[in-house]
Symmetry: C2
Subunit: 477 residues, 2 copies
């Protein structure tokens, strides 16, 4: 039986402008976890969230995580945990989100001030963190408020876990979750995370798999200091030359990973799995729209989705220590550090991936015959994750999507890593569902990040509806 959601939905529509106002306040706090000088803003954002939750009658705690390891001058922002309801007859759902955001500066090319929510005539709400992940986090708060104001009984006990370091490695979170699994989180019957995106722009999805991510630095150094290329060019082996030659041998233009052994670790594609891709609502035009170009590698949607979901990829992100500003500088950088990462999939073991990368990078460098020094290391790794989409957590969410959006959701995987997904699964031993709010064109991590008004408001309805279906779904399903 479908829950009686009409009163709740109507209340969400009534409160829509105040929900947008709540998002505007959140976006205005530049909670960039990666920037030292903005760390206090992350903490301020945590306090904002705490106050909002308390105003809604939740019991809230700001759990301190101490100093940031290796950067002891910085406090880690607290994990904001909260509980709404503790009726032992109800299911308890643990939801996760993050209140920190990626760096953003107007000069990067934003069309609007990144920390001012700017709504255009198409209902696109631009602002850093709008879709990743302040909109979804506030969606849970909005759902509580709309239930209260509609006078509708809240269908579950809600546990909330909102962190402030997701965009900078979720420092300290794994230990926290492991420690609280049998304490604060012990009642949780299932977990729901809203921190990813629809595959396209029109059809919602439920996500049951994620790639992992092994992030690497490779440093080449030689001279004691940066050198003038006029004085030293031609007489010294330049670290930048060596680094670029090493980086050029990691991956080719069509995305083929050149590190031996990596592709062999990938689980073979079965016929059953292959058959799943044809039905997914995704077109090459969806890809081209979100790319803003037609520079995709594959000509068809099946190969593209497989490349995103079930095959590894290697991206070169940049170089630290080289000249990176506009204009021209005639420097020979003394020490340069290339950054790259490998997205991992079943059955790649992070440690074996490291081993293969370290060996190959060192071998390639050795062949250059350079007197410079090379170091390569893993900055962090997060495992891939695949869950069962037949669990009641997923079937409930599927019904909620159908009720709110009028379509059955696609069952998808994701190319990105959300390491906390695996942490919750491993620590709590409960099913984890990824229930996205935003769409593929939201430009998370890029300039002009946005969340569509429609996705925010209908998404708030969806989060509430999901909790109602969760309350009803039989355990056996």
């Amino acid at each position: 039986m479908a829950p009686q959601l009409d009163a709740y939905f109507k209340q969400v529509d009534t409160l829509a402008e105040s929900f947008i106002e709540r998002l505007r306040k959140a976006v205005a706090i530049p909670s960039v976890s990666a920037e030292d000088e903005r760390r206090p803003e992350v903490i301020r954002m945590g306090k904002f969230l705490q106050a909002e939750l308390e105003a809604l009658g939740c019991s809230v705690e700001a759990r301190e995580l101490g100093k940031e390891p290796q950067r002891e001058h910085l406090d880690l922002p607290p994990v904001i945990v909260a509980r709404y309801g503790s009726d032992s007859k109800k299911r308890t759902i643990l939801v996760y989100g993050h209140y920190d955001v990626q760096p953003a500066n107007l000069e990067d090319g934003w069309a609007t001030q990144p920390f001012e929510l700017t709504v255009d005539d198409k209902g696109r709400m631009f602002g850093r963190g709008s879709t990743d992940d302040k909109g979804p986090v506030l969606g849970w708060l909005n759902a509580i408020e709309a239930h209260q104001k509609a006078g509708v009984d809240f269908p579950v006990n809600l546990l909330m876990c909102f962190e402030g370091m997701e965009e900078y490695g979720s420092e300290g979170l794994d230990d926290f979750i492991a420690a609280e699994a049998d304490k604060y989180f012990k009642d949780a019957d299932a977990v729901c995370i809203s921190d990813n995106y629809w595959l396209g722009t029109e059809k919602p999805c439920l996500t049951y798999g994620l790639r992992g991510c092994n992030y690497y630095s490779v440093e080449v150094s030689g001279p004691g200091q940066d050198l003038h290329s006029g004085v030293f060019g031609g007489t010294v082996q330049e670290p930048m030359t060596d680094l670029v030659r090493v980086m050029a041998q990691l991956v080719d233009t069509d995305g083929k990973i050149l590190v031996p052994g990596i592709n062999e670790m990938v689980a073979p594609l079965t016929d059953d799995e292959k058959a799943l891709y044809g039905d997914i609502a995704f077109t090459m035009d969806n890809l081209y729209e979100s790319l803003g170009s037609k520079t995709g590698i594959f000509p068809d949607k099946e190969k593209t989705l497989m490349a995103r979901w079930r095959y590894p990829s290697l991206s070169l992100h940049g170089i630290e220590g080289a000249f990176s500003a506009p204009g021209g500088k005639t420097v020979i950088p003394a020490k340069v550090t290339g950054k790259f990462s490998i997205r991992t999939v079943p059955n790649m073991e992070p440690a074996k991936v490291n081993e293969a990368v370290f060996k190959y990078v060192n071998d390639v460098f050795k062949k250059l015959g350079s007197k410079n020094s090379l170091k390569v290391w893993n900055n962090h790794d997060g495992r891939w994750w695949v869950a069962s989409p037949n669990h009641w957590n997923f079937t409930a969410a599927g019904k909620a999507v159908e009720r709110v959006w009028g379509v059955k959701p696609d069952l998808t995987r994701e190319g990105g890593s959300i390491p906390v997904t695996l942490t919750f699964e491993e620590s709590l031993k409960k099913n984890v569902l990824l229930l996205p709010m935003g769409s593929s064109t939201d430009a998370a991590h890029s300039i002009n990040e946005k969340l569509d008004r429609r996705n925010y408001i209908e998404g708030t309805k969806l989060l509430g509806a999901y909790l109602h279906y969760v309350a009803e779904e039989p355990t056996g399903a």
Copy 2:
């Protein structure tokens, strides 16, 4: 006959501390021409220089060059021109220097505040611009002051030309010099530039040749915006991958330029020229000391000096638009611009070098089979220069070196480009001499730039002595 310089020298020693104070004031002005927000500091430095010159009784003009082309929101700093003396019976020497400096930030690794002159117990005076080129510029002012206070007649008419955009392409200067060749500069009998360095740390030199510099940008673009590597990695052709693969094919670890046709443009080495290199006071240990490492390409001094002076080189400076900060960011940059430059030597024609580079870069990119777009362009070029070291301008300087330092100077060439050298020679049709003040370990363009107290004070003596010998040297020499 050697000029009677003793009184002048003694006065320089007496005034040494006040000369260091003058340098301290100059270093304290962060006149970084490459940074928009510091452009007013460059202009402030020009005013400082103007005031100092006026206080010495020079007639001074600040010549405005208008707005910076392509960046019309920025004023170009003025050229400070000055005259000291106008006795038609004396020779007139035009001296050039620049009052802008390279960028410098404490976080780059400076051991001291870059814009505070810090003198250590070895007499090393650390600070941005100390040696490049504020020390030498002030050397001329010091020489005037010491003559005045010693009561020694100034031996020549001195014309001065100090610019504020040398570290950022000398925008506007060529036209200015060409326009003033028959006006402000019309009396000049010869030109002296102090903006380079000794080959080592102990023996002064006179410099009669410079390499040129062709600076390039190569931009690869594809997606409409930066992308998340989790979402798009493996499905899109990444501009950074293409750029790194192109840059890796420009030069090898041992400095060999891989662009076809470049090495063929180089004037062949004659036996006569080859024989010159053995006598130069330079050792591999000098190289290693200034490198701060033993990562040189060649095992002997002759090959090393030839590589620096008479062969071209190609250096990769960095990449604009990629991730360049500390930490890890999982971005696929949408547009990345590699920066590299080629040091040019006789008989390389800048236009032909451009042609060879553009063709090769486009060919290499085409072979990648990428759907991304590549653009390559020349940011600026400065020709190489070789002068006659037998002119009276050089022989006078040689005698001055012997008088001040007690040794005959090495006659050297330089690996760096000082484009204004060629501009003066071509516009004024007069001999140009490069008379360095600093030594090879001064780290111009690097962190911890310094000028040794000894080089500054004896260097001030040298500039004055040079003018006395110039006044005496027969034209026929």
